[in-house]
């Protein structure tokens, strides 16, 4: 994908047409990237359904993605819970003196959006960077070419276990993280605003719609992160610099994907469930 739409290859003199060429190049590159990403995604799905199960790799990746992220996730979500309740409580006090619904509102927000989305952003950082760095260094050291020589598709061997592991472990991580955030929020509400934990732990505002939206987000993020970062790892080239670039791309693209998916799912959920 080098020479066909290289701007310098076109006979261009004027600035305007150079700009057009650059824009066109940008679109073509984006198109190629999206098409390749789609191909990797479909292949991953195909191998997940048809391929032979690789239990060892699956459990290893579950440990790598799930257990090893747990401490990081708990720290982040604990602090998030404290910050949100503190800030939200302060701000609500300015308008309404009654804080008894703070806990219910916080829990609804957590289930609908924050638990899954912030977990996903953190995992896009941790797991995404990890996957891209691992696969990228395998590509750069020609281990992936060796795999191809053995008639094994790298998508099957490298991305599929990560995809399945992330998909199955993501929900559990989000539930644990939401629990941690809620407990730390409860402590903050008690310590700073004197809200009784029993008043705070109020599930009356969480509806089936909220739960559905939250779980849909879990599945979408859990599927998107390994595929995108695996794709970024597989397209690495050029030594240690290439591995670094691939890791950067993985973190940025999977975070952007999380934010966009969040917008789409939240918007659809709002229109469907109200």
């Amino acid at each position: 994908m080098t020479s066909s739409y290289e701007p310098s290859a076109l006979p261009l003199g004027r600035t305007r047409s150079r700009l057009a060429a650059q824009l066109g190049r940008l679109f073509l590159e984006a198109f190629v990237a999206i098409r390749d990403l789609y191909r990797v995604f479909v292949l991953t799905l195909y191998y997940s359904l048809r391929g032979e199960p690789n239990r060892r790799a699956f459990f290893r990746e579950m440990y790598e993605i799930g257990n090893r992220s747990l401490g990081f996730l708990c720290i982040v979500m604990g602090f998030i819970g404290m910050i949100l309740v503190y800030q939200g409580g302060l701000q609500t006090q300015r308008v309404v003196p009654d804080l008894s619904l703070l806990g219910a509102t916080f829990l609804q927000l957590l289930v609908r959006d924050l638990a899954a989305s912030i977990c996903a952003l953190m995992l896009a950082t941790r797991v995404g960077a990890g996957i891209a760095a691992e696969i990228g260094s395998m590509v750069v050291t020609e281990q992936v070419d060796a795999l191809r020589m053995c008639a094994t598709d790298p998508v099957d061997y490298l991305i599929r276990p990560r995809f399945l592991a992330s998909l199955s472990v993501f929900g559990a991580l989000v539930v644990i993280a939401a629990g941690v955030a809620f407990l730390s929020g409860m402590w903050t509400a008690f310590a700073f605003f004197g809200i009784n934990p029993r008043t705070f732990a109020n599930v009356s505002m969480v509806s089936v719609g909220d739960l559905t939206i939250g779980l849909t987000k879990c599945v979408a993020y859990g599927a998107a992160i390994p595929v995108i970062s695996g794709y970024c790892g597989l397209t690495a080239f050029g030594g240690s610099e290439g591995v670094g670039a691939a890791t950067t791309r993985a973190v940025v693209s999977s975070s952007l994907a999380v934010i966009m998916l969040n917008f789409v799912i939240s918007g659809t959920g709002y229109l469907v469930f109200g």
Binding site: I83, Y86, T125, R126, G136, G242, T247, V251, F263
Partner: protein, 307 residues
């Protein structure tokens, strides 16, 4: 610098055991002769350390964290000394500002617009329940300006700029380019690290201002699309006096600290990279994780300090 320290920390217990055993053999030869074994034979110490692997693991973990914090502190002092003395490379600073700041604009823009939209969608059920459409601007604006815009901008800049910076410095460290700089009597901190640190801080500060504005724009139009609240009503909700400059300043003050965290940890992990291409991948991974955790912890502390 760090790999040596870390390996020392790992080797520490073993070295101490070895030294103790040697010491015992030197000073109490009779004991060791009588019992037929030395006082602190490796066998014995093995079992004693196996009795408390948790303690040992905790100790190794704790000394790792401490050496990381110490390394970051030393680097920060080094950088600040150069910055105060203006002993750093200006051209490098401007080059990095362009590379990190201008080139991140597309990502910051997209993130901010979507984030504003998400904030409104999340506030929508509450606003509808109370019928408080005039307060939508306040609700979304408060969360955006104080927390979400600085936080998400910092996370995106961490992913793009921080990771990139580590990858670059790490590649330089692995290919011994930093040693080459030292051999040419060029100070790597003044030439490479201080300009990058400064430009990350400036980039994040300016990007946060930018994304504050864009997130509110996105929120206004998402409010029009999902809730039918006119953008004018939204802007009035922002400016009726419930929100002040204090809220904006709160977010901006945070962004400076986040920038310092990202700059410091990305430079530190970059410089302490070893072990070829996989090593670069590992340190990029470590940077983004440490910066993200540091951002959230400091966000919490700053929320109290600035309240």
């Amino acid at each position: 610098m760090l790999p040596d320290e870390r390996s020392l920390a790992l080797l520490g217990p073993a070295l101490a055991r070895h030294a103790l055993a040697k010491h015992a053999r030197w000073h109490f030869p009779s004991v060791s002769q009588h019992s037929g074994r030395t006082l602190l034979e490796p066998m014995q110490t093995e079992t004693s350390s196996r009795a408390s692997p948790v303690v040992e693991a905790l100790g190794v973990r704790a000394s790792g964290v401490l050496s990381l914090v110490g390394g970051l502190g030393v680097l920060l002092v080094d950088i600040l000394r150069r910055v105060v003395r203006r002993d750093f490379d200006r051209n490098e600073l401007f080059r990095n500002l362009h590379r990190m700041g201008i080139k991140s604009l597309p990502i910051v823009t997209v993130t901010a617009l979507f984030t504003g939209g998400i904030m409104v969608i999340q506030a929508a059920p509450i606003v509808q329940r109370y019928g408080a459409y005039g307060l939508l601007g306040w609700g979304a604006g408060f969360g955006t300006l104080r927390e979400i815009a600085p936080l998400l901008t910092a996370l995106m800049i961490n992913g793009r700029v921080g990771a990139n910076n580590t990858a670059e410095l790490g590649t330089m460290a692995v290919t011994e380019q930093i040693d080459a700089l030292r051999a040419l009597a060029i100070d790597p901190v003044g030439f490479l690290v201080a300009p990058r640190f400064l430009s990350i801080v400036v980039t994040l500060f300016l990007s946060t201002i930018f994304s504050d504005a864009l997130a509110l724009l996105g929120a206004a139009y998402a409010g029009a699309g999902f809730l039918g609240v006119e953008p004018g009503v939204f802007y009035r909700g922002l400016t009726t006096g419930l929100l002040g400059f204090g809220d904006v300043a709160h977010g901006l003050a945070k962004s400076v600290v986040f920038g310092a965290v990202i700059g410091l940890s990305s430079c530190h992990f970059g410089l302490s990279t070893s072990g070829g291409a996989p090593g670069v991948g590992r340190s990029v991974n470590a940077t983004v994780v440490v910066s993200a955790a540091g951002i959230f912890v400091l966000d919490y502390l700053l929320s109290f300090a600035l309240a």
